[in-house]
Amino acid sequence: MEAYLGIDVGSVTTKFALLNKYSELITDLYMLTQGKPIEMVQQGLHQIKQQLPKDVDICGVATTGSARYLAGVIVGADLVKNEITSHAVATLQYAPQAQTIIEIGGQDSKIIIIRDGVVIDFGMNTVCAAGTGSFLDHQALRLNMSIEEFSQRALTSKTPVRIAGRCTVFAESDMIHKQQMGHRTEDILYGLCQALVRNYLNNVGLGKEIKPPIVFQGGVAFNQAIVKALQEELGSEIIVPPHHEVMGAIGTALLVHEESLNNSNGSKFKGFGISEITYHTSSFICNACPNQCEIAQLSIDSQILARWGGRCDLWERSPSSQNKEIE
């Protein structure tokens, strides 16, 4: 059986999706990155391998997410794609009529505007991470509850309080203020959800024409309270697709499948065996010019697989031959 693997390594979570050639999901995996992208990719591959039907042949692998280049080198990706394109492709597979995609992840949030099945515009949070999953996590932790409990409690609110959502720092102090005034926790929680939605629409959604059908995905879409707040604010139904948390991974898998049709060379996938290899990462400061770039490198034993992080491409060009040239 032909299968295509998509891996989405985000700031907070790592997602895997394995599709068959009919673009159906065979298996998926959702795990916390915990600041260890390499180990998580290895662990994920290991787990996927265990769930694999016997006769599966991996015909293409693609990576996305903020660690897509790193993950791409480790697994031998045939395609490395940004998360915006990946999300759009996956959504269109499940909801071909979608005109707006709202995606809120661990540390970024995006809006993708689609008309007639083509992405015509997108926005991504720029200098501010307000309204993303990490902030919700942080607040849940501060109130000593799990993020699941957060959502349940918030939904019971009857008179939500207004929280300043312009900036997470102000939102937090405003929340504390409301707490000390004696407002109920659930009202504060739902107020926070409304603030995040307002913040999202005012920043990321600025100037974008948000038309239904609206699809909401990403890890934060687990949070029913945010879904409800979005619905109220936009006055429209919000579709949360199944597997919304692994949409990025599904999207890259779809893309690599599409690409493999025009390419008969076969996959560069390094096999499930790589979950056994020990990778080393290290970094150094390049002194070739006054920029003092921090160059990160990935190696197995003493063989360097990849380098990146420079302002110029001095270290990125054929990493193995660089040693002689520079040192």
Binding site: S66, K81, N82, I84, V118, I120, F122, V127, G207, Q292
Partner: protein, 361 residues
């Protein structure tokens, strides 16, 4: 007297040529780098823009190298830039540096202001000598910009990524070193030839993306993390109307004669913005309207906290001429991975759009 000045792209090269011919001792601080930025950020008020921070860093590094006379542009009606020279002077004095600050009025005095400043710095050299040195500086400026325009065309097509950039670095160095018109001409021709001969993948014509926005962040690659070069790597040809040589040509010579290249841009912006709002905000809006038909997309560069460009950004989202616009806010927090993600997605969007419109044709 040792003269120091801030950087903006390769502008130091024409100034170096000009001052060398007049025997003015010019101190050129290191080109913008991480240290410049760190120095600038450390001593600047936080809410100021990246042009302020980088130029302050340059001035600090120039004084470290012994500059005792600093040149900094100033002017009214532009934006906060009008106060930058004065503010930087105060910061530098508080840091204990001893120097004379010369403000160059770029909005009111223009040509005469600049020539007057040169006359003073050159210890009263003859006008003949000043004009001929000035002409030579401008010749270098023009050569640099001509070559850069070719680089923009070659980058998206080259077979080995980075070839055009490496040639451009060499060309800049060569132009910096020449000392007469005929060699300058030859160097310019040589490099343009070499660039045109770079092996290419010429199968598909590249996507064309216009670059617009605030003058400094458009022209200083360090501040925009080499956005043009990154777009080139993604197979996109960039076009921009902002070149220092163009600015000089019009602002110093042709505007006084009543010719204004910006008339066209301002006219295009009229339905949405009727007047100058400082900085280059008016031009950004006008360029969006003008380029909507010709280009595939537009990258709008703005310094974080730049009021004129923020106004422009908000107007640009609602014009009836539609073209995908990607606004990039440049400041010390701008990180390359984030920028690349946005650029990649933007280019994907443009490519898919082009594919669909080709299929419909």
């Amino acid at each position: 007297m040792r003269v120091g000045m801030p950087h903006m792209g390769n502008v130091y090269i024409p100034f170096k040529a000009l001052f060398q011919r007049l025997n003015v001792d010019l101190v050129i601080p290191p080109v913008n780098n991480q240290r410049t930025l760190s120095l600038g950020v450390r001593y600047s008020p936080e809410g100021l823009c990246i042009p302020f921070k980088l130029t302050l860093g340059n001035l600090i590094e120039a004084t470290e190298l012994g500059a005792d006379t600093l040149i900094m542009p100033a002017g009214y009606g532009t934006c906060r830039l009008g106060y930058y020279a004065k503010t930087q002077e105060q910061i530098l004095r508080e840091l204990g540096h001893n120097f004379e600050m010369i403000q160059v009025g770029i909005s009111e005095q223009k040509l005469f202001g600049i020539l007057g400043m040169i006359k003073r710095l050159s210890n009263n050299a003859s006008w003949y000598k000043i004009i001929s040195a000035f002409r030579f500086g401008i010749a270098k400026l023009n050569a640099l910009d001509r070559i850069e325009q070719v680089v923009h065309k070659v980058r998206p097509l080259e077979r080995i990524k980075g070839t055009a950039n490496r040639l451009f670095v060499k060309a800049v160095k060569a132009i910096d070193e020449v000392d007469d018109y005929s060699t300058l001409k030859k160097v310019q021709r040589d490099y343009i030839d070499q660039l045109n001969q770079v092996p290419k993948d010429t199968e598909t014509p590249p996507l064309i993306v216009g670059i617009t926005g605030e003058f400094y962040v458009v022209l200083e690659p360090f501040s925009n993390l080499d956005v043009e070069s990154e777009l080139g790597k993604l197979g996109v040809e960039v076009r921009r109307t902002t070149f220092v040589s163009e600015w000089t040509k019009f602002s110093l010579f042709l505007n006084p004669l009543g010719m204004d290249e910006k008339d066209r841009i301002h006219k295009a912006a009229q339905p949405y913005l009727k007047r100058d709002i400082g900085g280059d905000g008016w031009e950004s809006v006008g360029e969006k309207v003008l380029h909507a038909k010709k280009y595939d997309g537009l990258v709008h560069l703005a310094p974080f906290t730049c009021m004129p460009e923020i106004i422009a950004q908000n107007i640009m989202t609602s014009t009836k001429e539609t073209i995908p616009v990607l606004t990039i806010l440049c400041d010390e927090q701008l990180a390359k991975p984030g920028m690349l993600t946005r650029l990649e997605a933007f280019v994907d969007l443009l490519e898919r759009k082009r594919r669909i419109s080709n299929n419909n044709r």
